[in-house]
């Protein structure tokens, strides 16, 4: 044991103190509260206190018609709203036996992936902000604006898209969209290189991320952590591969995996994922079939047959599972949202033990949490 840790190890009573990080704290990206019991600079226990932005999504699911719940899905994880709509729409389609036409499925994939990139860009910027770098945040937001322009022209909204419908999507894409997306893909590739030389190679950043906040694969499994978190721990689990939905089966992409399990691994996974998303988008644009974007014969008021069914997607933060229980009425009997941030955060208490405050916050940032996604 080193001198420092020896000196500051808490044998005597009253040496620890409790410090609140959040709900209004720049590092918690919203209203998460961490009740940190500190022993000097070391964290003995970091207990996340959630619920500061609980918005009753599951209760609202039981109070609205199947279609009326759709706008909510864009507000659970507002950074990757498309994926959430996708999961819900997919679940309802599965329950009601509706199949969206292929063009719609391709559009869903393209928009979801665009949305994933924009979400990762926000994470990238916010993570760097956590680490004290401000400029990359604005560069990332710049790039994100380009995606938002594309998506806004398509859906009419920048964040909360409400774009998917049971049986398709509400607007067809036009040539502008396709051209804009291709331009974006071409623009983004060199941009990623720039990020790597500006940020990834930076010695300060490497010192802050490498070997910090190691999460083992076993821990991910026991906590149900998914997405970049588990992939940064060496497990190549990706819902797009393991339970392929939509048209992901027809698209060729890699699942980036880094075995180290530290913050750097998660960082690299996300950076690599953006590149893979670009690849997916490119292929999907090439393969985009002609045809309608809405299935015909979807009833105006939907009443899926009784029973329960699940639909999982790979949202930007990991595995999102929507479980719906229908009792053959206009409204869902139960909508359960298993959100990735919730599970990813639940391992924080164990993972952050014994870390120092700045490292613990780097770990928090590397989990890429969206708080309403936890609190729902």
């Amino acid at each position: 044991m080193s001198a420092l840790s020896a000196l500051s190890s808490g044998e005597t009573k009253g040496e620890t103190f409790v410090i609140n990080v959040g709900p209004q704290h720049p590092a918690t990206h919203g209203v998460l509260r961490l009740k940190m019991t500190m022993d000097g600079e070391y964290i003995t226990r970091a207990e996340p206190v959630c619920g500061y932005i609980h918005r009753m999504h599951e209760k609202m699911g039981e109070n609205r018609t199947w279609a009326q719940f759709l706008p909510n899905t864009g507000r659970i994880d507002y950074l990757a709203a498309m994926a959430y709509s996708h999961a819900y729409v997919g679940a309802v389609e599965r329950a009601a036996g509706i199949a969206a036409p292929p063009r719609a499925e391709y559009i869903r994939v393209i928009t979801s992936e665009l949305n994933r990139i924009s979400s990762h860009l926000v994470w990238f910027g916010a993570f760097l902000l956590d680490l004290g770098g401000f400029t990359p945040l604005l560069y990332a937001f710049d790039d994100r604006e380009k995606i938002l322009d594309i998506l806004e022209a398509l859906t009419g909204s920048r964040l909360t898209y409400s774009y998917y419908r049971f049986g398709g999507v509400c607007n067809d894409v036009d040539d502008d969209f396709i051209r804009g997306t291709r331009e974006f893909v071409a623009f983004m590739r060199p941009r990623m290189k720039m990020y790597h030389s500006l940020v990834t190679d930076n010695i300060i950043l490497r010192k802050r991320l490498i070997g910090i906040g190691v999460i083992s694969a076993e821990m991910c499994r026991q906590y149900g952590a998914t997405g970049p978190v588990i992939r940064g721990s060496g497990v190549g689990y990706d819902v797009r591969k393991s339970e392929p939905y939509s048209v992901y089966r027809d698209l060729d992409f890699d699942v980036p995996v880094y075995p180290e399990g530290d913050c750097m691994a998660r960082y690299l996974v996300r950076m690599e994922e953006m590149v893979q998303s670009l690849r997916i988008i490119e292929q999907a644009l090439d393969k985009l079939p002609a045809g309608p974007v809405m299935a015909s014969g979807v009833p105006r008021t939907l009443k899926p047959p009784a029973g329960d069914c699940c639909f999982a997607v790979e949202a930007a933060r990991g595995r999102l599972l929507v479980r719906i229980v229908s009792d053959n009425k206009e409204m869902p009997y139960r909508v359960r949202l298993r959100t990735p941030s919730f599970c990813n955060l639940s391992l924080y208490e164990e993972a952050s033990q014994g870390m120092m405050l700045p490292d613990a916050l780097a770990l928090l940032g590397s989990l890429d949490l969206v708080i309403p996604d936890i609190d729902r």
């Binding site: 001198a3 020896a6 000196l7 190890s9 044998e11 005597t12 009253g14």
Partner: protein
């Protein structure tokens, strides 16, 4: 020789201010009930003493006094307080025995009085002719020549002191 207008007045006032600062700082250091304020008192006292050194023709020492005492000693003491004395930010007066207070006061007054008398009355030799200018460079020269042993020794002393301090600081944990 040029003269700053009211030079005597200004310099004299500054000197008195220095004395006042020293005295006030020292008093604050021993009287206040908050330990951090006592450190501040020490710091203030040191500023005053630095001023006095300046008047004693040693600007170098004056600045060193500030650097060593405020920059290093006071800061370390505050760290020490943070580490060791959380519950004693207030030193409660309540249970201080009056007796001790009186004893201390008497002792202090006696010493002050005695020494002052000694100092004022003492048959001090007349100032002899100065053999060096006492500048910083002179100090440097004497450190390298006359006092070279002491110069090396002091670094050794500090080294050993830190060695000891680190060992002791770590030793405390073995208990409990």
């Amino acid at each position: 020789m040029d003269h700053f207008p009211a030079q005597d007045l200004i310099v004299g006032t500054v000197f008195l201010l220095c004395v006042a600062t020293t005295v006030a700082g020292a008093l604050l250091a021993v009287i206040t009930t908050r330990i951090v304020r006592a450190v501040c008192g020490l710091a203030i006292c040191c500023v005053g003493i630095a001023g006095l050194y300046y008047f004693l023709h040693s600007p170098f020492l004056a600045l060193m006094e500030i650097l060593v005492y405020i920059g290093a000693v006071c800061v370390t003491i505050i760290f020490g307080i943070m580490l060791a004395e959380p519950d004693l930010t207030y030193e409660s007066k309540r249970d201080t025995t009056v007796l001790w207070g009186i004893v201390a006061l008497l002792a202090g007054a006696a010493i002050c009085w005695g020494l002052s008398r000694l100092g004022l009355q003492g048959p001090w030799p007349a100032p002899p002719a100065q053999v060096s200018d006492g500048s910083t460079k002179a100090i440097g020269v004497s450190l390298l020549s006359t006092y070279s042993m002491a110069f090396e020794a002091i670094s050794l002393v500090l080294f050993v002191a830190i060695l000891g301090a680190l060992v002791i600081a770590r030793a405390g944990r073995t208990k409990a």
